[in-house]
Amino acid sequence: MLEVKDLQAWYGPGHALQGVSLEVRPREIVALIGRNGAGKTTTLKTIMGLIPRCQGSVLFEERELLGLPTHRRFALGLAYVPEQRRIVPGLSVRDNLRLGMLADTRGGHEAARIDRIAEVFPRLKERLAQEAVTLSGGEQQMLAIARAIVSQPKLVMLDEPSEGIMPVLVDEIFELFKKMRRDGQAILLVEQNVELALEVADRAYIIDQGRIVHHAAAAELLADEAIKERYCAV
């Protein structure tokens, strides 16, 4: 459903992506791993249309995305949970959730949708009126995910969802990814925690210096100490 071919991207003169090709199929969790500065975040941002200077091809359900503004990509069913969660300060949990529903006019009644998403995230349900930045890190990550998936996207891209979060909540979040896959959503997952990512993923790509250097089934990579050592050691 997502086919990235020879994607290149620049920050000013810096050539951050130098040919990234990867694919995500329906109902699949794909991990994108690599060491710091390899280009993982840039890959997700370029797919979402947040990096102005890029070339190559990004097909989403056979449609070319490059050239489309970010909000149009969202409308096609692509969601992105950025690193650092990006919860909007000054807004309640409920208002942060509402932000995820503004652009999606087909979804039905607002209160009903908040109830529905709150069922998936009981921790948020109890805290809807609370100011969002007072949530714990893990709860904020859940809010960021809830906000991105409340519009029921077809493919969700997540950037380091486990970063700085209590292990219990990490487990909850990764259980949710499996449930999303069962429900028919596809996931492109960027993770520093390689073991964790490979345990949940179906397939994985390794990126290094702006290029995909390896690609295999997740289980295979999980067993391959040499590769992990070479490309993922921090």
Binding site: R98, L99, G100
Partner: protein, 294 residues
């Protein structure tokens, strides 16, 4: 120096509040546009002046003040929309000085255009018959029109507050001032939001122009000093803070009108003294968030 009797004091307080109300409306738009678009809008005074001239033209045709009050914001809202779409938006991403210089130049063009069309001299502008004269409150006489200006501004501010707090577009405004990129990611066409915000700020400036016209008449230069003083108000209130704009606008209006009784020659200077005093104590302004400009 006039003796400051209680009657005079009460009157000057009203004069100050009415002037402050105009500042509030102008600062509200400036603050909104800066908070969302990071555009320092130097054409805001010219939009205020254009609003007054649209009212002047409508009044000449129909003689109906209420129609002026309805038409000017609509006309200027459309102009603001076009200005953002075709002049300001191409400059995003290039640094804060590009739109600043553009709007600065635009204000000269607009003022000159009005001089060519309407002439260099100003015109008096009658307050509507229903609001002429004074009312007696507790033995003091107050000009009815100034009371109306304060009440009208209160209504506009309340309506804007309800709009920002309770509507979806208001939610976008509150979030967009903090993190426009996340709005984009969540499917919102931020460029369109910015155009609408610029149009809204311009429409409010036009309303301020119409309300001010009966107080001072209309002249092509009426926006010049108001712009600078409204900038002072936004700085005192805190750039990007709407509540700050309200409080600081009224405060500045009161300070000007009270100083003008005691020491008329210091009236305009008092504005800058107030700004200096506030900035010494709170560099981010009364309600400003530190680091908004950073």
């Amino acid at each position: 120096m006039a003796a400051l009797t209680p009657e005079l004091l009460a009157l000057q307080l009203l004069v100050g509040l009415a002037l402050g109300a105009i500042y509030v409306l102008l600062a509200f738009g400036l603050s909104l546009i800066f908070g969302m678009l990071t555009v320092v809008n130097f054409a805001h005074g010219a939009f205020y002046m254009l609003g007054a001239y649209v009212a002047f033209a409508v009044a000449g045709l129909t003689g109906n003040f209420w129609l002026c009050l309805a038409c000017a914001p609509v006309v200027l809202g459309l102009i603001g929309y076009g200005v953002e779409r075709f002049l300001v938006s191409p400059l995003y991403g290039r640094g804060i000085d590009y739109p600043l210089l553009l709007t600065f130049g635009l204000s000269y063009v607009l003022v000159e255009a009005v001089r060519i069309i309407f002439g260099k001299q100003g015109y008096p502008f009658d307050s509507p018959a229903a609001l002429a004269g004074s009312v007696e409150i507790l033995g003091n006489y107050f000009p009815l029109y100034r009371l109306f200006v304060v009440a009208a501004t209160g209504t506009i501010v309340l309506a804007l507050w309800l709009f920002v707090e309770w509507t979806n577009f208001g939610l976008i405004i509150r979030a967009g001032a903090r993190d426009p990129e996340i709005l984009r990611v969540l499917g919102i066409d931020v460029g369109r939001v910015w155009r609408l915000v610029f149009a809204l700020g311009t429409a409010i400036a036009a309303m301020a122009g119409v309300l001010a016209a009966p107080l001072q008449g209309v002249t092509p230069e009426m926006g010049d000093s108001m712009l600078i003083e409204s900038f002072v108000v936004t700085v005192v209130g805190g750039m990007g803070s709407l509540g700050g704009a309200v409080l600081a606008g009224l405060l500045v209006g009161l300070v000007v009108s009270l100083t003008s009784v005691v020491a008329p020659e210091l009236a305009k200077l008092s504005i800058y003294a107030l700004m200096a005093a506030v900035l010494l104590i709170r560099p981010q302004g009364l309600f400003g968030r530190a680091g908004l400009l950073g």
